[in-house]
Amino acid sequence: MWKFIVRRLLITMPQVVLLSILVFIMAQLMPGDALSGLIDPNIDPSAIEEQREKLGLNDPWYVQYKDWVTSAIQGDLGQSFRFKMPVSELIGQRLVNTFWLSLATLIITYLIAIPLGITSGRYNDTLRDQLINGYTYIGFATPLFIFALVMLWAFGYGLGWFPTGGSVDPGLEPGSFAYIMSKVNHILLPAISMALITTVNTVQYLRSEIIDTKQKDFVITARAKGASESRVYRRHIFRNSLLPIAAYFGFEITGLIGGTVFIETIFSYPGMGLLFMESVLQRDYSVVTSVVLLFGIASILGALLSDIILSLVDPRIRIK
């Protein structure tokens, strides 16, 4: 088991290296560089050139890459020219917000997907199943950013049940109960909006897995043993159907990253997604590269997590 995890971790390393190279090259291809946004264009060009030389911006790309990576490993991701503060500090604040939003979204996604998928798969082609299917098709067809806007308009502005922006009410003592409740309150609407749309994949996936597993021979064996229908579902069908869902979990995280960019922008929720969006629009070069790098690492970790979960639940993957 541990061997498997260690080996899987080793495979992750080159992925991260490759990702960092790609991110770096793409950043290099963007017009302007770390300096061009910071300086007054009226300064003497030779002085600028001198500064560029001093900052290492005239070095070959691999030297620059090495510098960037070594300082990134030490936690120095550069300066944000817009916020005039270290990128690492800026991301630190935002990352926590995005983490809670993503976690809430994941939980709600599975809270919706598992009961709906199970019902739909077990009673396939009945009215219940058709209703659930109808919902999933609507979910597939509805773009997240439009749905989120409608939700914000209806529950945020119209009914006023939820706050319409930010991550916490101002003036609350951090760590106090009111502070935490305010945080939860700010997370709920964006999380529900996102979960309602992203869950349809999982519902459909679980449904087809259950319909598939229902027809497997070992289910007949279980019935022939004298297991009741509810036991057959509980012990034999569900567990085998949940495997691919566990495998899908990592991709769910990747999907979340895309989702948070939209959701945080629409709900003006100060997380990584919003930061990314603002930084792109304002050409905050060092922030964009750092955020993209972190998103990439999150995806890789998501895949890693899926594999580990899958190896825990599926004995066939545990072979040495």
Binding site: T221, R223, G226, H236, R239, P315
Partner: protein, 339 residues
């Protein structure tokens, strides 16, 4: 008759295809005694497995008519809870493909243990493990303590079929249905598994229904044989009579299709045509008529019934009286010509 554990009368199992019901098992009556092996033979699609699934109540979407008396109780229209008390306890089944019939996510111990647990809630965990190890010993698995912890994918096909048998015999059933238990296994393992089944049958006094299309297996194992064609029993007899004096054209054709040792250069006999699909089954007259077109129409009965030729030997339709193989005819004629 107390010896009789299963009595099927006029069983008809129909499946729904495009709003119509088609019978895959059509008017089958048979019985099984204690410590007796009844073999059911026939080509693929002749309704053997559909019959077995009907007995076990494993069809989920079929319409079943007629009666199946098991230990004096009709189990066709039995309540699900009552049926679950019988299944796995008084009657059990071994399936064709041991590769797919075991749950890939459960250890051998859990799968055999489940069969025990379902019919004996009081059994403690340690007692259960003891029983599982005993069962694995019984089915000839070496190192049962080790195999217990293993998952199906870690076992060979023969081992998995042994585990299946262990599940089936866990509660000493009175009726054991084996649906082509050796088709997925290679020949050396086949012999071992069949030997094992025979031993267990003798030990536990179990009635066995053995479904197969391998006549070699039938000769080895069966006490009585029922030959099925297109959902009906066309001939039923004890194993010696059936092999020595087969009557029905279908039985004779099947036996004639076995390659004989001394006829290496002869062409193998092939039964013309194929088993008709469920929707295209002739529902009237002799169902085998289309595959023996050289036999005159008059030879067949209008409504073929089972006739008792000698005690215990039943044959459907009268066409057997005039049946001959086409190549025999040719030989006869040519021998007439030369003499």
């Amino acid at each position: 008759m107390s010896n009789n554990i299963l009595e099927i009368k006029n069983l008809k199992t129909s499946f729904r295809i495009n709003d119509d019901y088609y019978a895959a098992v059509d008017d089958v009556s048979l019985s099984v005694n204690k410590n007796e092996t009844l073999a059911i033979v026939g080509e693929s699609g002749s309704g053997k497995s559909a019959l077995a699934f009907s007995i076990m109540g494993l069809h989920t979407k079929a319409k079943i008519d007629g009666s199946i008396q098991f230990k004096g109780e009709d189990i066709v229209h039995i309540a699900a809870g009552k049926l679950n008390k019988l299944r796995g306890n008084d009657m059990a089944m071994i399936f064709q493909d041991p590769l797919t019939a075991l749950n890939p996510l459960m250890t051998v111990e859990d799968q055999i243990g489940e069969a025990l647990l379902l019919h004996n809630r009081q059994l403690s965990k340690t007692k259960r493990k003891e029983r599982v190890i005993h069962l694995l010993n019984q089915v000839g698995i070496p190192r049962p303590e080790y195999t217990c912890e293993q998952y199906p994918h870690q076992l060979s096909g023969g081992m998995r079929q042994r585990v299946m048998i262990a599940i089936a015999i866990a509660n000493k059933p009175e009726l054991l249905i084996a649906d082509e238990p050796t088709t997925a296994l290679d020949v050396t393992i086949q012999a071992q598994i069949l030997g094992l089944m025979n031993d267990l049958k003798e030990q536990m006094n179990t009635g066995v229904i053995l479904i197969t299309h391998d006549l070699g297996v039938v000769a080895e194992m069966a006490d009585r044989v029922a030959v099925m064609y297109a959902g009906q029993i066309v001939e039923i007899a004890d194993v010696y009579t059936l092999f020595q004096k087969p009557l029905h054209p279908y039985t004779r054709s099947l036996l004639n299709s076995i390659p004989a040792e001394d006829s290496v250069h002869d062409k193998l006999h092939v039964i013309q045509g194929i088993v008709p699909s469920l929707q295209n089954l002739p529902r009237e007259g002799c169902r085998f008529k289309a595959r023996i077109p050289w036999i005159s129409e008059d030879a067949h009965e209008e409504n073929p019934e089972l006739h008792e030729v000698t005690p215990g030997h039943f044959v459907r339709c009268t066409c057997y009286q005039q049946f001959y193989f086409p190549e025999e005819k040719v030989e006869e004629e040519s021998s007439h010509g030369t003499s």
